[in-house]
Symmetry: C2
Subunit: 193 residues, 2 copies
Amino acid sequence: MTNKTRERILHAASTLMEARGYNQVPVKEIAELAGVSEMTIFRHFETKMGILEALIQQQSYIPYFEHYFQTSLTFDVKKDLTDIAHQYLLYMNQNKVIFLISIQERGNLPELSNLITEANTNQLQSLLASYFDQLIEKGILKPFHSESQALIFLTTMFGYFVTTTISINHFLQDQQKMFIENYVETFLYGATM
Amino acid sequence: MTNKTRERILHAASTLMEARGYNQVPVKEIAELAGVSEMTIFRHFETKMGILEALIQQQSYIPYFEHYFQTSLTFDVKKDLTDIAHQYLLYMNQNKVIFLISIQERGNLPELSNLITEANTNQLQSLLASYFDQLIEKGILKPFHSESQALIFLTTMFGYFVTTTISINHFLQDQQKMFIENYVETFLYGATM
DNA sequence: TATGTTTGTTAGTGATAACTAACATTTTAA
DNA sequence: TTAAAATGTTAGTTATCACTAACAAACATA
């Protein structure tokens, strides 16, 4: 039962903190939603911060983008970029709670922001850039600065992620496919005639 | 002296809240930075929320993008888009504190998010879309769905804004010019040969 | 059944922070 | 100079909340 209790607590914490952040969710309320007593939480996690740390442990799964880039590329640019965009959003949505809390607690836990931005930019960006470099060599892409273009591509997807994350219904989740489709098209072929 | 005191308080509050948000900044600390006593703050603003409201009043200047679109367009697409991007970032940076707090307080003050996203998407997006429509008619742009393309363009700039806002030095401020330059280029002419 | 493990209950501690009250001091302007 | 307005000081109230202690109840498993 211990394990299920722990999961219920983490799930409750995640739900509440996604909506209201870390500081604004009292432990008592997490306990209520999880259907356990407050004491149980402290016995499991010691401190409130312990809950957050467990959440980070549980949610910030660092995907092997390396693996993806080594195995799943087809060098059909359109297909690849579309897929990368979806993969990226999948990853970011899994880290949504942590992302939101990292903004909120940026004063207290600056390391948290890095968890997101590290993987976000550093890792993915350089992988994407070297993919672009390969395409440049193949004569498919223009000989631009690949790092800059990777940054542009990921920045757009990041903007999409943030928009869907902070505003409830600003644009709907099932518009995602269309957004990516349109964006990849423009990114590759431009808006001009 | 009243006016200067008020300004000093608001300035101190803005500085501290930009770094650490609303809840995590005690009134006492705002008083210290402003060089006034805590009582003075309460005499000026009644409650802590009063400070935030005054900040919103002061900072969320809603720019007349309409005016801009009516007067400053040259229909040199590259030039226009570059300029629009800069204008947009200027606007967002003026609302930076409010943007950050709106994420943090999204549980308590959901209306706040709208201040940003309203002007952000609704107003600017449709203005940009109709600009695109004109360019499509002129045969300069492809006959795509203008709203979608406007969304893409603004989403990228929004992503850039959020990145520079939440991570201290993720990419530097003076890279802005280059980022916009690169992005406009790719947006217009695409990444492929 | 017996025993150890997990959970519940209750009452309380200590820290923080928003906000108030009352009075003293300084500053401003006529 | 003098009165009013603005600010400072201090001491305290109240509420919230993380966290603890001690004991009781439920539960699991051997």
